[in-house]
């Protein structure tokens, strides 16, 4: 597909040292009546073409807000971004004027949402919603847009695309709706695809279909994929590298094999230990005690310290930096050595 729009951004091609997408020290706050909620506190990660980055975290960890900041779909206000950069091919998206931004959004960086039923408009046919991408961004005619929509529905393997292009979202099953969302997101051949919990609402057999489809599309076009999820199983299946988020920060960064073999942050370790395993049948599961932090009243020092089995006195007062613990690894824990050794503090 040819890009007809004149873009202020560098065209595709070789990247040099700069990653395809780099989030650098991003801060996002929400101004609420109860005070300022710091949802994202200095998040950095990067993505290269063809790579899959999994962002792992619970509700409230800031993983979706980070993605929305990358896409530029945060409502501002109440949100504001006091600091940080989101560089796409070296250009900081946060400093771009809105018209340049909207050329990136959907064309170069696209997103899939968790709940396909509420993300699709119930009163338009799926064909017109997929085709809208071509009409708005490429100035295609209705007829051409519909032809493209059928092609895309074929590409995401929706059976009978030619007939179903005139159907409405409610006429499709959950898995098929998510395929339609994927069709919309890949319509303009984006270089980065952000998938926010794309399979959480789906059954396991359908989840397997969707994950396989995403992997295939990624192979075909060498997209960078950011997969936001809380499912450690899905991450182990598809990710190249992982960023674990907790309380608005990245607490561990690692390649996928390293993190499952030996986590370097107590939170990651706790999550992995609490997966029910076959040999633990009949025993009590390991459970991380306490509950996720309240963003309005974050604990002092390290946000995880009230729940942490490795806690020492300085954890309460001193927020740990993201320690570089290897060429591809970092951990935001003062006692990452002890965690890595597996000894309980």
């Amino acid at each position: 597909m040819k890009k007809t729009s004149t873009s202020v951004l560098p065209a595709g091609g070789a990247l040099g040292d700069e990653p395809l997408l780099a989030v650098d020290d991003l801060h996002v706050e929400f101004v609420t009546r109860q005070g300022v909620v710091k949802a994202v506190n200095g998040v950095s990660y990067s993505l290269n073409p063809g790579e899959t980055l999994a962002v792992l975290g619970e509700s409230g960890s800031g993983k979706s807000v980070t993605a929305q900041a990358i896409m530029g779909i945060l409502d501002m206000p109440p949100a504001r971004i006091p600091r940080g950069e989101v560089r796409f091919r070296g250009t900081d998206l946060l400093r771009l004027p809105e018209d340049a931004r909207s050329q990136v959004r959907g064309q170069r960086v696209a997103m899939i949402f968790q709940d396909a039923l509420s993300a699709l408009n119930p009163v338009f046919t799926v064909g017109s919603q997929i085709g809208e991408m071509f009409r708005v961004h490429r100035g295609a005619s209705r007829r051409d847009a519909e032809k493209k929509a059928v092609e895309l529905m074929d590409r995401v393997r929706i059976p009978g695309a030619r007939q179903r292009v005139h159907d409405y979202p409610h006429q499709f099953s959950g898995g098929m709706r998510q395929r339609i969302m994927i069709a919309m997101s890949i319509a303009l051949d984006p270089e980065v695809l952000i998938a926010d919990e794309p399979t959480t609402a789906l059954d396991v057999t359908v989840q397997a279909q969707i994950m396989e489809l995403l992997a295939e599309l990624q192979r075909e076009s060498n997209m960078g994929l950011i997969l936001i999820t809380h499912d450690l199983g899905v991450v182990a299946d598809v990710a190249d590298k992982i960023a674990v988020m907790y309380g608005g920060r990245i607490v561990e960064n690692a390649l996928v094999h390293d993190i499952y073999r030996a986590p370097a942050h107590p939170y990651t370790k706790g999550l992995l230990d609490s997966i029910p395993r076959v040999d633990q049948k009949g025993q009590e599961l390991y459970a991380i005690k306490g509950m996720p932090p309240n963003l309005l009243a974050m604990p002092s020092g390290c946000a995880f310290h009230p729940r942490c089995p490795y806690r020492q006195d300085n954890c309460v007062t001193e927020a740990p930096p993201l320690y570089e613990i290897g060429p591809t690894r970092s951990s935001a824990c003062h006692y990452w050595r002890e965690v890595l050794d597996g000894s309980h503090g």
């Binding site: 359908v206 397997a208 499952y260 999550l271 029910p276 390991y286 996720p292």
Partner: protein, 337 residues
């Protein structure tokens, strides 16, 4: 968790069809959604029966039938030998005391205008013989303590609690009448990962303490494996396989169970390239118009002519030690969850 003795819950040929009507004045039935279509099983004291299956397979309708929240089209549900499916009035009230439910979503299943004390104590309003009025507050505080909440929080409202704590409130309400059976419909799926293990541990502890029997409905297969003594697999209103947890997970005999297990992502990236995975094509057919014969045959890689003509019954088949409903049942090693 030794499950012994007589079954306390007996389900036989349970059927629930929801009629599909056409016309406003001259209503005419044009078909039926066959949500549950001939399900039978037993549950013993202190035992956990896990029910797994995809959305639309009828597992939540099954839960409602067990609770007598829906009336079955046919079939029977007996609790301690007493029929609940046909029971009415006072009789129904008495049987129901023995079977309680923990709901999926702790955000919508608790009334936001009632205090925790009122929510947990409400069963005592209906069954006044369990706790005399003066005794209720103390009983509710005991229950709060049992589920690991602060008894002083009895006058708080649901919104003052986190998701995990709310699920504990729901569990306390389920325990209030000291039932023998608790139906848990997806009790942890709405909770954060780090909270799920806490709630599962609580459910297991309560089971040991009060000798409870659980029907544990969930789609997370690793959680079901952890908590269940026996597991039933449902597909389009039918039980397609039923057996001990080890039989179902280590030696599944029905192709659907095999596909379901192989689709579960394994939380270990080592060897992921070599992992064998059965990816089913398409979606489950509509329960209003299920395929003839075996309902799974439209997505099954083993299907032959007999599958369309003859419905396979849930029975023990050659080469397997547990019941499965497939003409070509054979054990198959799948990836472990």
């Amino acid at each position: 968790m030794a499950a012994t003795g007589e079954p306390i819950l007996e389900v036989r040929d349970l059927v629930k069809h929801f009629p599909l009507n056409q016309g406003i004045i001259m209503k005419k039935q044009i078909g039926a959604i066959k949500a549950v279509d001939g399900v039978s099983f037993d549950l013993r004291r202190g035992e956990t029966l896990g029910i797994v299956g995809e959305s639309g397979c009828g597992k939540s309708t099954l839960a409602k039938l067990l609770m007598a929240l829906e009336r079955p089209t046919s079939g029977s549900v007996k609790i301690n030998g007493r029929e609940i499916a046909q029971a009415r009035g006072g009789e129904l009230k008495r049987v129901r005391r023995n079977i309680q439910m923990v709901m999926q979503d702790p955000y919508t299943s608790l009334n936001p205008r009632m205090t925790v004390g009122d929510i947990i104590g409400e069963p005592y309003e209906i069954h006044q013989e369990v706790a005399p009025k003066g005794d209720r507050r103390r009983k509710v505080q005991e229950l709060l303590e049992v589920v690991g909440l602060n008894p002083d929080h009895i006058n708080r409202y649901p919104h003052q609690f986190s998701g995990g704590q709310r699920q504990r409130i729901g569990i306390a309400r389920g325990l209030a009448l000291q039932p023998e059976i608790i139906v848990c419909d997806e009790p942890v799926s709405a909770l954060d990962v780090s909270i799920q293990a806490q709630v599962i541990n609580l459910l297991e502890r309560l089971q040991n303490e009060f000798d409870l029997a659980y029907i544990f409905i969930a789609h997370d297969l690793s959680v079901v494996r952890h908590i269940s003594d026996r597991v039933g697999v449902m597909y389009l209103g039918k039980m397609v396989e039923l057996g001990k947890d080890t039989e179902i997970y280590d030696r599944p005999a029905h192709p659907y169970t095999q596909a379901l297990l192989s689709a579960v992502p394994v939380p270990d990236p080592d060897g992921r390239e070599r992992r064998e995975r059965i990816i089913l094509q398409g979606d489950p057919p509509s329960p209003a118009n299920p395929p003839s014969g075996c309902r799974f045959r439209t997505r099954c890689w083993k299907a032959q002519e007999i599958c369309a003509e003859q419905e396979p019954l849930l029975q023990i088949r050659p080469g397997t030690a547990h019941a499965s409903a497939c003409h070509f049942a054979e054990t198959h090693d799948v990836v472990h969850v």
